[in-house]
C-alpha cells in the first residue's frame, strides 16, 4: 500500500551508459507499481553539481537514493547527511565505500579491468605493446579499471605505450580520434584497450578506424579488447571490428538498485556489495547476446 519515490543519480546525464540504468530503473518501477523512479543528475561530469542535486533531492523528501558517485570523498558528506535524514542510500556503478551507504550495486571495477587484461592475454599470450583509452581523468571507477588491466598484464610480455591512457572525457568523437592517434603514433601497437565503450558508440567512426588494418584484427595481429557491451558494440564485434568485449550490466544496475532500495525501506536486510556481474563476449558467443 505504501508508495515510494526513489531517485537515481548518475555521474553525468550526457553519458549513454546511464541511459540504460535509467531504463532499467523505470521498467522495474513500473513493474512494482508502488515505486516512482526519478532520474536526475548533472548534465556534465562535475562533483559539486552532483552534490547540490543530491542535496535538492534530500530537500524534496525522496525515500531512497541510488548514486553513481562522482567523487568519493565529496559524496560521502552528502550520503551521510541523507542517511541521517532517514533516506535509504545506495551507490551504483561507482562507489563511496567509506560512507554510510547501505549497499553498492554494480561492477567490481578492478575485476572489470582485470577481465579486460585476461581477455587480451587469452588472445595474444605472446604479448606486445598496448594502449588504453579512458574517459574522464577524475573518474575513480575508470582509474580502477586501468589499474585492473595493468595488474592482469603484470608479469606478461605486454608493455604499455607511453601516453596511455588517453582521456576522451566521454566525448565519442574524441575517443575515435584518439584511437586513430594511438595507432598512428605507435604503428606496431599490438592492442588497443578502451576501458569504456566510447569509441565504439560511433559505429562508423570505429569502422573507418579499423578498416585499414581489419585483416590484422582478424588474424589477431592487432587485438581490440573493449569494455562495455552496448548493442552497437556487439554488432561491430560480430562484423569483425573487435576481438573481445567485456560488458557490465547497466540495465540490471537500474533494476537491482530499485529492488534494493525497496528492501531497505521495508526493513529487509541487503548485501553490502551486490555485483551485477560481467559478460565476456567474443566472436564465439556474440550471437547469444545479440538477441
Amino acid at each position: 500500500a505504501d508508495s515510494y519515490k526513489f531517485a537515481v543519480v548518475p555521474k553525468a546525464m550526457n553519458n549513454p551508459f546511464f541511459d540504460l540504468t535509467r531504463d532499467g530503473c523505470m521498467a522495474e518501477a513500473k513493474k512494482l507499481g508502488n515505486v516512482t523512479c526519478i532520474y536526475q543528475g548533472p548534465v556534465e561530469h562535475e562533483p559539486a553539481t552532483q552534490a547540490q542535486i543530491i542535496d535538492d533531492l534530500i530537500t524534496q523528501g525522496v525515500d531512497g537514493l541510488a548514486i553513481s558517485v562522482s567523487d568519493a570523498a565529496a559524496a560521502t558528506t552528502l550520503i551521510n547527511k541523507a542517511v541521517d535524514a532517514g533516506i535509504a542510500v545506495i551507490t551504483f556503478d561507482s562507489d563511496a565505500a567509506d560512507s554510510k551507504r547501505a549497499a553498492y550495486v554494480g561492477t567490481n571495477n578492478k575485476e572489470f579491468g582485470k577481465a579486460l587484461g585476461e581477455e587480451l592475454l587469452k588472445l595474444k599470450p605472446e604479448g606486445g605493446t598496448y594502449g588504453m583509452i579512458s574517459g574522464g581523468a577524475a573518474a575513480p571507477n575508470l582509474a580502477e579499471r586501468v589499474d585492473g588491466v595493468r595488474e592482469a598484464l603484470k608479469g606478461s610480455k605486454w608493455t604499455e605505450v607511453p601516453g596511455s591512457p588517453t582521456f576522451c572525457n566521454d566525448d565519442v568523437t574524441l575517443a575515435v580520434q584518439q584511437a586513430g592517434d594511438l595507432k598512428t603514433a605507435n604503428p606496431d601497437i599490438a592492442a588497443i584497450v578502451p576501458v569504456g565503450g566510447w569509441p565504439m558508440f560511433a559505429p562508423d567512426g570505429w569502422k573507418n578506424f579499423v578498416e585499414p588494418f581489419k585483416a590484422d584484427v582478424e588474424s589477431k595481429k592487432v587485438a581490440l579488447v573493449v569494455a562495455d557491451t552496448l548493442p552497437v558494440q556487439l554488432q561491430l564485434l560480430k562484423d569483425g571490428y573487435a576481438n573481445a568485449l567485456v560488458g557490465q550490466r547497466p540495465y540490471e544496475m537500474g533494476e537491482v538498485a530499485i529492488q534494493t532500495l525497496l528492501k531497505l525501506k521495508k526493513g529487509e536486510k541487503v548485501e553490502k556489495i551486490i555485483y551485477t556481474g560481467l559478460d565476456r563476449v567474443t566472436a564465439a558467443n556474440v550471437g547469444e547476446f545479440l538477441k
Binding site: G41, P47, A51, D71, A73, A138
Partner: protein, 342 residues
C-alpha cells in the same frame, strides 16, 4: 561642507525616483524577474520556501557568487576570464594537498598553523594564476579570451598532474577548523554567505567610493582616455585579474570544504555560468558597466532556476531547456526599461 554650486538649467527637471540610480538599472529589472520567479517556484514546489531549502539556495549561490564578484571586476574593465573554474579546482587542490602533506610530515607548530599555511599556499597559487593572466593581457597585450582560455587548460592540466586525477580530501589536525570555516554556520547563516556579504560590501565601497574603482570603470569605458589622464591602466588591470583569481580560488576552497574533498574536475565548465551570472546581473562584456549587487542577483537567479526545477520535479531532459528559456526571459524583462525610456 561645501555649497551646491549647480547651475540653474531652465530646461532640466528633477528626474523621478524610478528614472535614476539603482531603480533604473538592469540589475533592478532582473531583480524583479527574480522575484516573479521565486513566487512561481514557491507555487510549483511546496518545499521551495522551506527554511532548509532557503539555506541550501543561499549556500549554493554563495559557491559561485564570490567568483562572480571577481569576474565582474574583470568584465567592467572590458576583459574576460575563462580560467575561473580551473582556478577554483587548482586552489582547492593545493590547499587540500598542503594540509595532507603537512599532516604526513607531522609539521604542526601551533594550532591552526596547518590551516593557515594551506590556505596561504592555495591562495598564492590563485594569485599567481591571476598575475599571469593580468600580465599577459595588460603588458603583452594578448587577447583576454585566448589568454584565459589557455590558462583554463594549463591550470586544469596542472590539477590533473598534481593529483593524477584523484580527488584530495583535506586531512590533519586542522580539518575540523577547516570544515567549520568553510561549511559551517554563523548566526544561522551558511558561513559562505557571510563571506559573500563581506566581499560584496568591500567591492561596493571599492567601486563606488575609491579612486581605484573609478579607474576600473574608466578603463572599461575608454582605456585610451584612462591612459591619457595618467591612470595606471596596466597596474589596475593586473590587480583586477589577481582579485578575480583570488575570489575564484577562495570559492573553490569553500566548495571543497563543503564537499569534504577537492576533486580534480571540480568546477569544470563553471566559467560560462559565472560569466552568465555577471552578465545577467547587468555587467556589460563591452566594459564600463557592472556592479556587486548585479553579480549577486545574477547568481541567485541561476541557482533559483536550477534548484526550483529539480524541486518542482520537472523532467530532467526538459530542465536544461527551461533553464535556457528562463535565463533569456529574465534578461528580456530588462527590455521594458529601454522601451520605457524610449
Amino acid at each position: 561642507m561645501m555649497a551646491e554650486t549647480v547651475q540653474n538649467f531652465s530646461n532640466v527637471r528633477r528626474t523621478r525616483f524610478w528614472q535614476r540610480g539603482f531603480l533604473a538599472s538592469q540589475t533592478a529589472y532582473v531583480g524583479l524577474a527574480l522575484i516573479v520567479l521565486i513566487v512561481v517556484m514557491s507555487f510549483a514546489s511546496p518545499n521551495f520556501l522551506s527554511a532548509g531549502n532557503i539555506s541550501n539556495i543561499t549556500r549554493n549561490f554563495s559557491f559561485i557568487a564570490i567568483a562572480t564578484l571577481g569576474i565582474t571586476l574583470v568584465i567592467i574593465t572590458g576583459g574576460i576570464d575563462l580560467s575561473v573554474g580551473s582556478t577554483m579546482a587548482l586552489t582547492a587542490t593545493t590547499t587540500s594537498l598542503t594540509m595532507v602533506t603537512l599532516n604526513n610530515a607531522g609539521f604542526y607548530p601551533f594550532p591552526g598553523s596547518a590551516l593557515i599555511i594551506s590556505l596561504l599556499a592555495g591562495l598564492a597559487t590563485a594569485g599567481i594564476i591571476g598575475f599571469a593572466n593580468g600580465f599577459a593581457i595588460a603588458k603583452l597585450k594578448l587577447s583576454p579570451f585566448v589568454t584565459t582560455l589557455g590558462t583554463l587548460s594549463i591550470v586544469r592540466g596542472l590539477t590533473y598532474v598534481a593529483t593524477f586525477g584523484r580527488g584530495t580530501a583535506p586531512a590533519g589536525p586542522d580539518k575540523e577548523l577547516f570544515l567549520a570555516l568553510t561549511s559551517g554556520k554563523l548566526a544561522g547563516m551558511p558561513i559562505s554567505f557571510v563571506y559573500l556579504i563581506i566581499a560584496a560590501f568591500a567591492m561596493w565601497v571599492a567601486l563606488n567610493h575609491t579612486a581605484w574603482g573609478r579607474h576600473v570603470y574608466a578603463i572599461g569605458g575608454n582605456e585610451a582616455a584612462g591612459k591619457l589622464t595618467g591612470v595606471a591602466v596596466d597596474r589596475v588591470k593586473i590587480q583586477v585579474y589577481v582579485i578575480c583569481a583570488l575570489a575564484a580560488g577562495f570559492n573553490g576552497i569553500i566548495i571543497s570544504g563543503w564537499l569534504g574533498s577537492a576533486p580534480a574536475n571540480l568546477a569544470t565548465a563553471y566559467e560560462l555560468t559565472i560569466i552568465a551570472a555577471a552578465v545577467i546581473g547587468g555587467a556589460n562584456l563591452a566594459g564600463g558597466i557592472g556592479g556587486a549587487s548585479g553579480a549577486i542577483i545574477g547568481c541567485i537567479l541561476i541557482e533559483v532556476i536550477r534548484n526550483g526545477l529539480v524541486l518542482a520535479r520537472v523532467d530532467p531532459y526538459w530542465q536544461q531547456t527551461l533553464v535556457g528559456c528562463i535565463i533569456v526571459a529574465a534578461v528580456l524583462v530588462d527590455r521594458f526599461r529601454s522601451l520605457r525610456s524610449g
